[in-house]
Symmetry: C2
Subunit: 418 residues, 2 copies
Amino acid sequence: MRLSTNFTKTKKQVPADEQSKNAQLLIQAGFVHKEMAGVYSYLPLGLKVLNKIAQIVREEMDAVGGQEILMTALQVKERYEATGRWSDKVVDNWFKTKLANGTEVGLGFTHEENLTPIVKSYLNSYKDLPLAIYQIQTKFRNELRSKSGLMRGREFLMKDMYTYALTQEQHDEYYEKIAQAYRRVYDRLGIGERTFKTFASGGVFSKFSHEFQTVSDAGEDTIYLDKKRKLAINKEVFTDEIIHDLGLTKSELEEVKGIEVGNIFSLGTKFTKPFEVEVEDAEGGRVAPLMGCYGIGISRLMGTIAEVMSDEKGLIWPENIAPAKVYLVRLGEKNAKVADELYENLLQIGVEVIYDDRDARAGEKFADADLLGIPYRIVISDKTVEAGKHELKQRTEAQAQSLGLAEIVKTLAGDNKV
Amino acid sequence: MRLSTNFTKTKKQVPADEQSKNAQLLIQAGFVHKEMAGVYSYLPLGLKVLNKIAQIVREEMDAVGGQEILMTALQVKERYEATGRWSDKVVDNWFKTKLANGTEVGLGFTHEENLTPIVKSYLNSYKDLPLAIYQIQTKFRNELRSKSGLMRGREFLMKDMYTYALTQEQHDEYYEKIAQAYRRVYDRLGIGERTFKTFASGGVFSKFSHEFQTVSDAGEDTIYLDKKRKLAINKEVFTDEIIHDLGLTKSELEEVKGIEVGNIFSLGTKFTKPFEVEVEDAEGGRVAPLMGCYGIGISRLMGTIAEVMSDEKGLIWPENIAPAKVYLVRLGEKNAKVADELYENLLQIGVEVIYDDRDARAGEKFADADLLGIPYRIVISDKTVEAGKHELKQRTEAQAQSLGLAEIVKTLAGDNKV
C-alpha cells in the first residue's frame, strides 16, 4: 500500500482522554478511532491487524473440528427468561432495546441461549455428538467503566465456541483439545511465553474454569504464578486447599497482574436442560448433552498485544499479524524509480509492504515506521542509491544492514518463492 | 466438507412462519436460522455464501480505490442531533438503547455521521481528496414489518461506501466509477442480466439518486423498465417530465416489480457542513467536501439470489458464490475408497466439495444436492464403479454425463491446475 493513498495519518499528541497505553498507541498510529469509551472503529491498518488475529483464531478452531456460523446481536427475551439470565440483577451488563411493536430484545453478550435452540433443531441422535460450533461476532456488554482501551470493550469482536458432548469423557476430551488450540493461538500471536493457563472459579458443574492470562501490569486480574509449570491461580480461587490440590507450593508462587485473553468453561447441562435438548444414547436412554464454552476476545487480543509489545517509539507487531511486513522509506523524489521497482518486486512475491512515498522529511518517516510497528524497515536514499546498497533494519534492532536489492528481496521472501 | 460432520440437516417441511420464498428455501436447506422476523443467524453453508458475496463486493470496492474500515454499531446521539437525524420523527427505524450511566445511544442504520468526524480528523488539504472509504458491517433498522426474509432485515450485513470530493467534477467521476463497479458486482453474482440502474428520488443536492433493481415479483418496489437501454425509473419519480428528460418513451416502458440490491446517492455538503469539515483548495479558499454514499446489502443480495435463482427442487447458486462447486454422492459403503479418493483429488486442486458420505438413501441424497443448489453433482454407485464411469450432472441440466474419474477431475478443474 502506498502511504500517500492511505487516509489516516499518525498523530504526534497522545490522546488526552485515553489512560491505557494500548488505546493511546493505536489511536496515535491511526489504527483505531474512539467513538466512546470502550467503543472503537477500526481504520485500514487496524482492520488488517484485527482480521489477521481473527484468521489465526479461525484456523485453530477449524483445526479442532469447529464449524463456523454467525449468530445475531438481537436476542429474544424468552430464551434468557428460560435460563434466568434476562434480569438485570442476574446479568448486570445487558444492553436492551425494543422492536417497533414494543417487544423487548437484548443485544447479545454471549450466545449459549441463542445457539442451544439452533443445535436442538438439528440434533437427532448421540451419533451427532460431539459438536463444536463457533462464531467470530460483535458482542455488546454495558460496562459501567471502560478505561482499558481495547481490552475491555462495550462493543467488541469475540470468538465464542460452544461444544455439546454426550458424556463427561467426551466433554473432557474436547475441553482439553480446545485448551491446546488456545495455546497454539497465543504462540502464533507471539504472546505464548507470557500467557498462562490459570485456574479460576468454576460454577455448579465443575470445580474450576480456566482462563488464559497474559502477564502485564495493565491487567485487571491478580494471579499467582508458577512460572516453571506454566500454571497460575486466579486470586478469586486462591486458597490453601486449592494450592494443595494443584500440587503447588505457596512460597514459590509469584503475584502478578494478568490480562484475561481467553477462558474455557464447563457448563454441564445448565443450558441444555432449560431448552429440553435431549438425544437418545446407544442404550435407548434420553441424555441431555454437556456443554462447554470457550471465548477469545479478538479485539482484546489486539489491545493486549499493543500493550505488551511496544516501546517508547511505538508498536511492535509480530510478523504474522502486522499490517505489513515491510515499511519502505523512499527519501527523495528522484529515487522513485528504484523504490517503485523494489515495491513491485516485493508485492509480486507476496510480501506486504507499506510504501512511504510521501513528500515528507526523513525523521518523520522513520518515526512513523517505528510508531506503526512494522517488522522491517527499508531505506532508499541518495546515499544508498549511490552505494548500490540500501538499509534494511528490523523494528526490534538498533543497527541496519546494508544490502543490495536482490539480497533484500531474498531476506524478506521467507517461505515465499523469489 | 464431509456432510456427515456438518451439524445442519435439510428440512422436509416448509417453515410455517415464513411467507417469502428466499427464507423458506434457505431455512429448509439449513443455510440460515430465523431468530425473529428480519433477524437470521447464518449456519455453516449459509455463512460460506454470505462471505463469498462479501468478498466479491470487497474486491470491486478495492478495485476503485476504496479503503476498508470497520465502524461501530453503537452511535453517539450528539452526532445525529448535529444533522437532525436523532429524532424518531425524522428517522423512523432507529433502535436506541442506553449506556449504564444513562447516556442514550443508537444502533447504526447508516454511518455518514460516524465516518465524517473520522475523516475530518485526518483531512488536511485538497490533496487528500478524493477519498472512498467503505465497510462491510452489521446494520440495525427497526422495521415495523419484516416479511421478506433476508431481503428486508432488522439486523443485516451491508457494504456502505462513502466518498468525499473537492469538486462536483471529482464527485461525478467517482460516482460513475462506483456505478460501474456495482454493475461488475451484479454480473459476477449472476444477476447482471436482470438488474437495472434505476432513477429514484434525489434530495436537496441532486435531481436523482440511482438504485440497482433486480426484477422479481417478490420485489417491494415498482419500476418502469426500458429493457433495451438497461434503464428504469422508480415509481416514486415516474412523471412525464422525467420520462422526457431521460429521453425515454412512456409506451415502451414495462411496469415490473424490483428488489433494490444497491443504491448510490449524491449527498453534497449535507453531512460535511454540520461537522464543519473543510479543506483548503489550491487557491487558498476553504471548501466543504462533497459526499456520496453507496450501499449494497450483502445479506439482501443473498436473499435476492435465493429468490430469483431457484426452482421447485431448491436453490441454484452461481458457481462463484455456491457453498461448494461439487456435491459428491456416494452410494454404498463399499464404494468409499473410490469416492474418498476423488474427494481428496478434487480438494487438492482447489475444488470445493460437499461429500455426501452419509448413510442415507439415494433419493434423499439427490434431493439434498438439489435443495442445497450446488452447481455440479457427482454420483458414485455400484453401477458406476463397475462401469468405470461415474455420473456428472449440472444442477441446471436434466441429463448426467458418464465420465471416467480423470475426465471428471479435468472437467471440474476449470482454471485450477490439475
